[in-house]
Amino acid sequence: MSLITHLAIAPVVIPALAAPLALLVMRRRRALGIGISLVSAAAMLLAALALLWAASDGTIRTYELGDWPAPFGIVLVVDRLSAIMITLAASLSVIAMLHAVLTRADRKGWHFHPLFQFQMMGLNGAFLTGDLFNLFVFFEVLLIASYGLMLHGQGPARLKAGVQYVIVNIVGSSLFLIALGLLYALTGTLNMADMGLRVAEIGPDDQGLLRVAALLLVTVFALKAALVPLHLWLPRTYAVSTPAVAALFAIMTKVGVYSIIRVVPQVFGDGAGAAAWAPAPYLLPAAIVTAIIGFGGVFVARSLSEQAAYAVIGSTGTLLIAVAGWQQDTLSAALYYLVHSTLAGAALFLVADIVARRRAGFADNASPGPDFAQRQFVALLFLAAAIAATGLPPLSGFIGKLLILESVADVPFWGWSWAAILFSTLIGVIGFARTGSLIFWKETAPSKAGPLEGALPATVSRADMVAPIIAIVLLAALSLGAGGATDYTAEAAAQLLDSAATAHAVLGDR
């Protein structure tokens, strides 16, 4: 066995080693700790890219932990989908971490770097595992880490929002366990591929129970994905989090989306009797409402961070409109837009931060303030981020939305989907135009003090623009390289719909 076979475990092992090491050295040698953290992020990115490349040949690689054969042990599954998610997470982590370090946000409290690493471990584990209970465990890892990160920097607003975020997610986790119990009781297995096979053999007497389990499980994922009406926890939480953290959180809702598109075809596919595609009828309407409410929030939000938070909701809605099609082309569109919207959301949070850092008293509120450092350039960054978030050309959002529009055109109720996507885009554009023109165009006399507390703008270095620039460059690259990207997502979608192939890859000829 060469090292390449162990590559699958690297995205979990790297942060899991980096975190305790950083923890050990952090208290005495901060610089070293940061170094470890950064190196780990870079290493994760390399491993992810390697996996992305490895998965591009279409083979599904599995990694049996402890050498226990699936389905009896826990198995990691590296296919195109998980490779995409891992790579996305790694890229995002580099951006967020850079921003945290450059803006010294990581110094505003204890254990930022260990928590960050553990968060990455949780994310990567969730994206890689092929075992449903193990997915739960990694959900918990990334959640508890996210609690710590979300409260990083503290202050009343964060603590208040934190209580709600934590408790809502604890409820979600409990529901996850109930669904798991039902599924184990019915199928006697925890391995997703195996479960998919066994679900097909469940008798008529148990169909009701099976469907309940399926719907419950998807509900839990929908809660993570912040699908209306399970989205209420998100706006406050994201808006008050440390921007670098909020940027990383842009992928948290996508974990929910990922779980839906991973589990439903694999376990509740055509063969699943009453549970076959169980969430399908409800996903589309919910997604449509989510998209509109999300961008409605963008339309009226009073600060950039609030706007970014609602944009995350809206983009998840748009994304799930595509997912709800459950066809290869719609899922492919969804995956492309997933990558795009994650980066776009991150960019928004980061730009909101660099605005806030330059307007001390006015923060990122959509209210005119005195002139501030590098306004021209910051305005440009905001323009780019807004263009990306709303899905205007030339950034990847436009291509993403075209993909979705075209792919859902043969799905029932496509008219509603189109109307929702285009209308939400319009109100999003108007909303961003409003806040942007207020912050970057309208100007008040420098003498006027800000509505919020806080003295003169802290002397800010241009360094804090690096991270958002990277994000925007990535978005541009995603737009230019859309051809290759969509090829990859198309194959990924085909792969994840072919549950039989996955099952064979995981279980062999059983």
Partner: protein, 950 residues
């Protein structure tokens, strides 16, 4: 240069120029405008170089694949239509840049201005040269964005910001509608390649989606080309600097809609629906715009409405679906571009040199600024359609074609209305020229100031006006072939014959236009009275309407969002549980099947029933006694205990042990927390809410209980755990299958699990470490200890007993740990036991004593534990096994005898460390705070006592 290269260069040049300008930045106005001019000039040269062959009928297309998945490719094509527009864009662009250089003052943000201008130029070229409709859409939206930036150029002006936002909302929104239309069109036509689409008229017009497609696309065109009722953004776009108005809002961008109509003429036009909609919209816009223009006073506003009117004329002509009408349209596009841009520039000059744009304050300027006067008057004459200017010819053709069309079955309707519109446009053209340059000055101040600008500023309009004149004098020579080939490109087939000339003999058209001229003169003569007459006419202020609409939407949506998204945990949790209840019911009903399964149950012993009753009573007590928090804790621990007993009963000793030890720690934790929390606060919930919650709760309980029942009464479906049972000893080296599962079969879960605990510890530490600061610290200092404590802080018996107990408990913990692999126990339970022992030390002896005897910090414990677990897991890799693979063997030592060494045990050490570290970190930190608070409180009391005694 080879054509393909030309195409790419054409489109890329402006963007490169924009980048360059932006990169240079600063105040180098000459540099900025220089680069912009050079870019435009080079582009123009390229166009000219290609012109011959293109007009000659060759068509050139190039394509680079971009996103095959959606049929988007970077494909450009140039045909006469594209050529003409590209020529206009670049030619007028060049003149505008020159004009703008002199128009903008030094020190203005010329970099931003010219960069945006070039950005727009590139986008516009993209539209007219795109060979793929999706690519066209991209450039289309880019023009909206760049026009947004340009209108808002003077960002300190409120009307600039509002105008910009309005333009973006209308044109951008229209663009989105257009996207829908175009994508549908592409889907119906089966391709997004322009040529293919143009060739598939029959398919498209046969499709049931045709009306939808048509209307969507038309909305896109009408918004962009400011057609009624979407016209209102254009006058407010005049807040932009005059060069921008001249370029975007008269010559090019607003023509994008007209261009698209012309471009798609072959595939969309010809149907009654098309003719009716497009013609009537154009007709209405033409008349309405001309009418309003007649009574405006701001020069740019007059020009804006005249532009609207002229665009209406073009749209109407294309709506006719008649070949010759298309020819007229093409010719008029040329004319209008020439004279309207010239007029805008002269308006800018007047504004620039006299300080006002209000026509009521100006007059007689011919004396002061003769050159400007000549240029402007000639241009106005062209706009009025007076011979011998180009405007005359195209208007004649227009009027002539109106006779061919009958709208709503009324053959006279179009000609009559068109004549009226023509009359009005003669009126406002004459008024513009006359009131501005002739008669007597109305106000001294601007009159005195006014003077001709430098040649730099009047050169551009002069060139344009010259063009307008020559177009009139030598139409065939100058534009004949071009117009013919362009018109051919529009209608998609070669034109029969074309004769452009001033004199077509006496015909209806001539009569109509003579009427128009006469009427126009009349209008000018009686203008004052007309003003008074129409003053009473209510003029709806589009801007106010738009803004009140926006504001209304804003308040409404905001109210909705705010009220629905109040950060209320109760609402979040309620929403979650309601959704759960609904989906569970839906699943059960839709899924069908049976509730109670075949598996026969185990008889319940009286003890079990008693325990069950106890549990239910305790739960009820928790719910009903929610206010007395300490008591509630007791109930909770009772419940925990019963559950532990249940685990014993149902042959899960490990679980029982874990449950008990976790229970103890949890209760300790809750006690410590409650110590600092309000003990018996008033209840919040109103009783209706309680009923609502109660209902959801009961439903939830019923459903989950039912699910449990259904589960328990079914036979297991050969679970994978049989494998675990079979391989636990042989493969895992342990007889306690649960423990082997935890540290071996599913060690990966356990790794995650201990990391969760570790993170919890760290996060809790991070949370509490700051407690003594800020408002929290203040609150702590005023905290009241309301639980009576024994007078001495550490009762001696308690202290001694715990200190004696400690070693015992420790050894018990070690024992628990070692037997774990084969008997109930293991690292986790051991850690908890030891932790509890230490916590007792804290409670009994206080921190000072304990801390002094506790060497290793918890952080280190956690880190070390995770590392040990990880390294154990990674060790397997050395032996070519997978992560977390284990090994074990049996050894014999004297005295001890045979014993087993398993790497799993090493892993368990990691578990022990993390769990111990985390639990200690959490609870120790918490009790630290409690004690600090207590001390602070004590000190306070002593102080008060001292006060009292004195």
């Amino acid at each position: 240069m080879a054509i393909p290269l030309t195409l790419y260069t054409l489109v890329l040049l402006p963007f490169v120029a924009a980048l360059l300008i932006a990169a240079i930045g600063g105040n180098a106005r000459v540099l900025h405008s220089g680069i912009a001019a050079a870019g435009s000039a080079m582009g123009l040269a390229l166009i000219v170089s290609a012109a011959g062959r293109v007009i000659g009928g060759e068509e050139f297309a190039v394509a680079i694949a971009w996103v095959p998945a959606i049929g988007l490719e970077f494909s450009l094509m140039i045909d006469p239509l594209g050529l003409m527009f590209a020529g206009l864009i670049l030619g007028i662009g060049l003149l505008v840049v020159i004009f703008g250089h002199f128009y903008l003052a030094e020190g203005e943000a010329t970099a931003r201005f010219f960069a945006s201008l070039m950005l727009f130029q590139g986008a516009m070229l993209g539209i007219v040269l795109a060979g793929n409709v999706l690519l066209l859409l991209i450039f289309w939206e880019l023009t909206s964005l760049s026009s947004f930036l340009l209108i808002g150029f003077w960002r300190h002006k409120a009307e600039a910001r509002q105008g910009a936002r309005m333009a973006l909302a209308v044109t951008g929104g229209g663009g989105l509608v257009l996207i829908a239309g175009m994508v549908l069109l592409g889907i119906v036509a089966g391709s997004f390649d322009l040529m293919t689409i143009l060739a598939s008229a029959d398919v498209v017009q046969a499709s049931p989606l045709y009306p939808v497609i048509l209307i969507l696309i038309l909305i896109g065109c009408f918004t962009k080309s400011a057609q009624f009722p979407f016209h209102f953004w254009l006058p407010h776009a005049m807040a932009a600097p005059t060069p921008v108005s001249a370029y975007l809002h008269s010559a090019t961008m607003v023509k994008a809609g007209v261009f698209l109509l012309a471009r798609l003429w072959p595939v969309l036009s010809g149907t009654d629906l098309y003719t009716v909609i497009v013609t009537s919209v154009g007709l209405v816009t033409m008349t309405f715009g001309a009418f309003v223009a007649l009574f405006r006073h701001d020069l740019k506003s007059i020009l804006a409405y005249s532009t609207i009117s002229q665009l209406g004329l073009l749209v109407m002509l294309l709506g006719f679906s008649i070949k010759m009408a298309a020819v007229a349209a093409v010719l008029h596009i040329l004319n209008h571009a020439a004279f309207k841009a010239a007029l805008f520039m002269t308006a800018g000059i007047v504004d620039h040199e006299s300080g006002t744009r209000d026509i009521r304050r100006l007059g007689g300027l011919a004396k002061m600024m003769p050159i400007t006067a000549i240029i402007a008057t000639t241009a106005a004459a062209a706009m009025a359609g007076l011979p011998p200017l180009g405007g005359f010819i195209s208007k004649e053709m227009m009027l002539y074609e109106t006779l061919e069309i009958s709208l709503f079955g009324l053959p006279w309707l179009v000609p009559v209305v068109a004549t009226i519109a023509a009359t009005l446009s003669v009126g406002y053209s004459l008024r513009l020229a006359w009131h501005l340059f002739f008669g007597s000055p109305r106000e001294p101040e601007p009159y005195a100031r006014a003077h001709d600008p430098g040649v730099g500023m009047w050169a551009s309009p002069a060139v344009l006006v010259l063009l307008a004149v020559l177009l009139g004098l030598f139409p065939m020579l100058l534009a004949g072939t071009l117009v013919a080939s362009v018109a051919g490109a529009v209608i998609g087939e070669p034109l029969p014959t074309l004769d452009l000339s001033l004199w077509h003999g006496v015909n209806w058209a001539l009569g109509m236009s003579m009427m128009a001229v006469a009427g126009g003169v009349l209008l000018l003569w009686r203008h004052k009275d007309l003003l008074l007459a129409t003053a009473s006419l209510l003029r709806p202020d589009a801007k106010a309407m738009f803004q009140s609409l926006m504001a209304g939407a804003d308040t409404l949506v905001r109210k909705f969002i705010v009220t629905t998204h109040t950060p209320s945990l109760q609402r979040m949790v309620f929403a979650t549980f309601s959704v759960v209840v609904v989906v569970v019911i839906e699943g059960a009903i839709t899924g069908g099947g049976i509730l109670t399964g075949p598996r026969e149950g185990l008889p319940a012993s009286p003890v079990a029933i008693v325990a069950w009753l106890l549990l239910i009573i305790a739960t009820a007590a928790v719910v009903n006694d929610e206010r007395h928090r300490f008591r509630v804790l007791v109930y909770i621990s009772v419940i925990g205990l019963i559950i532990a007993l249940a685990f014993v009963q149902f042959s899960a000793p490990d679980l029982a042990l874990t449950q008990i030890s976790v229970e103890v720690v949890t209760i300790l934790l809750l006690l410590l927390a409650l110590n600092l929390l309000p003990k018996a606060p008033p209840l919040l919930s109103s009783s209706p809410r309680k009923w609502r919650d109660g209902a959801v709760a009961c439903l939830g309980g019923l459903l989950v209980g039912g699910a449990a029942w259904a589960m328990l009464t079914r036979e297991p479906n050969d679970p994978i755990s049989s494998y675990h049972l079979a391989n636990s000893y042989s493969g895992g080296g342990g007889t306690n299958v649960v423990n082997v599962t935890l540290v071996d079969f599913r060690a990966f879960d356990t790794l995650g699990e201990i990391i969760v605990l570790g993170i919890a510890g760290l996060a809790i530490f991070a949370l509490l470490d700051t407690t003594s600061r800020g408002s929290a610290g203040a609150r702590l200092r005023t905290w009241q200890q309301d639980v009576p404590h024994s007078p001495e802080s550490h009762p001696i018996m308690f202290v001694m007993s715990t200190r004696i107990l400690l070693p015992l408990v420790l050894s018990a913990g070690i024992y628990m740990f070692l037997r774990g692999h084969n008997q109930p126990g293991g690292g986790f339970i051991a850690a908890l036991v030891v932790a509890i022992a230490f916590l007792l030390q804290y409670l009994a002896s206080g921190f000072d004593w304990t801390d002094a005897r506790r060497r290793i910090g918890e952080h280190t414990m956690i880190a070390f534990g995770v590392l040990v677990a990880m390294v154990t897991g990674l060790g397997a890799l050395i032996f070519d096994a997978n992560f977390l693979a284990t090994a074990f063997d049996y050894f014999t030592l004297p005295l001890i005898g045979e014993f087993e060494l398993a790497t799993a045990v090493l892993f368990d050490v990691g578990v022990f460390c993390v769990v111990f570290g985390a639990v200690m970190l959490a609870l120790a930190q918490l009790s630290h705070i409690a004690q600090r608070a207590a001390r602070a409180h004590q000190a306070q009391l002593d102080e008060e006592k001292a006060e009292g005694s004195r």
